[in-house]
Point group: C2
DNA sequence: GAATTATTTAGATTATATCTAATATGACAT
DNA sequence: ATGTCATATTAGATATAATCTAAATAATTC
């Protein structure tokens, strides 16, 4: 949507606004589906200019380091990515691995004593269970 | 330590107490270092009987499914494993990826309205930042 | 003890991510 | 405009993590 705003946020982070990097960022901002690197690579290559796999991974790394993108590790599956827009939590489906946004609310921080010499950057709350699609009864008997 | 208790918990979960599976479970119970599958594989093979890599992965999968072991996905690194003893949260180091236990406290659940048709199994709270070792000033200038 | 089922195994295979080193691009000083 | 230099991109190779395969072994049931 706001091409200039994307350009600005990249440059504010000391990153050049290259076509490839812009395409990754724009794609993440207009989707809330938490795509994998492979999905992003495929998506940005449906429009010119072409971007290589290494560049897609490099740019995702840079964007995460710059704090513009969040990486979500899912057990046994490829990492998923998420433009950091409004704050929210994540629901991860035990069965299909999909990551869904959940309304944000404040999380109590640990007692400072329990942190010791660690430096806390953030508290991340992850909900786990079955997504809507996987929770439906859907004849589990027939399939098993 | 309590060999019979381990045997019981495996069998209560419908899993045979094989030497290989027992070794994985016992190793996880006597370490709180959140080892990777490769580290567990290596550790259990320092004592007889030998266990193959596939068996180590198979058993970890079975133990996680049975709810006896927790798997912790860390971005860009191998998964780590943890016998589920007393409840606790996790601190994951941004820099070295180490997973450390943190004192448990209750986490507020999401408003039921925001769950929709999803089925919630658990809320997981993850702290991120720098572990004690990585937080130390340690002449970062000299090394870079 | 034969049949059945669960488990283990070595090695191949897949999936995911990173590295390499050659090339291209953009910023900026002249 | 042109040269310089840091940054970014690229194809393909490589590394790492995890799973699959099919045959062998071990335990359980009949
Ligand atoms: Mn999200
Ligand atoms: Mn733990
Ligand atoms: Zn699902
Ligand atoms: Zn650390």
């Amino acid at each position: 949507m706001d091409a200039e705003a994307i350009k600005q946020s990249l440059e504010n982070s000391g990153l050049r606004c290259t076509p490839q990097r812009y395409a990754v960022m724009a794609f993440l901002m207009e989707h809330n589906r938490h795509p994998t690197a492979a999905e992003i690579f495929e998506a940005v290559n449906r429009v010119d200019p072409r971007s290589s796999r290494a560049t897609t991974y490099n740019n995702l790394r840079d964007l995460v380091q710059a704090g513009l993108v969040r990486e979500v590790a899912v057990e046994g599956r490829a990492a998923r990515f998420d433009a950091k827009g409004i704050r929210h939590h994540h629901f991860i489906c035990d069965r299909c691995g999909n990551v869904e946004d959940m309304e944000w609310y404040d999380v109590p921080r640990p007692a400072s004593g329990s942190l010791g010499k660690r430096i806390l950057r953030e508290c991340e709350l992850i909900f786990r269970g079955l997504c809507k699609k996987c929770a439906l009864p859907r004849a589990s008997r027939k399939l098993s």
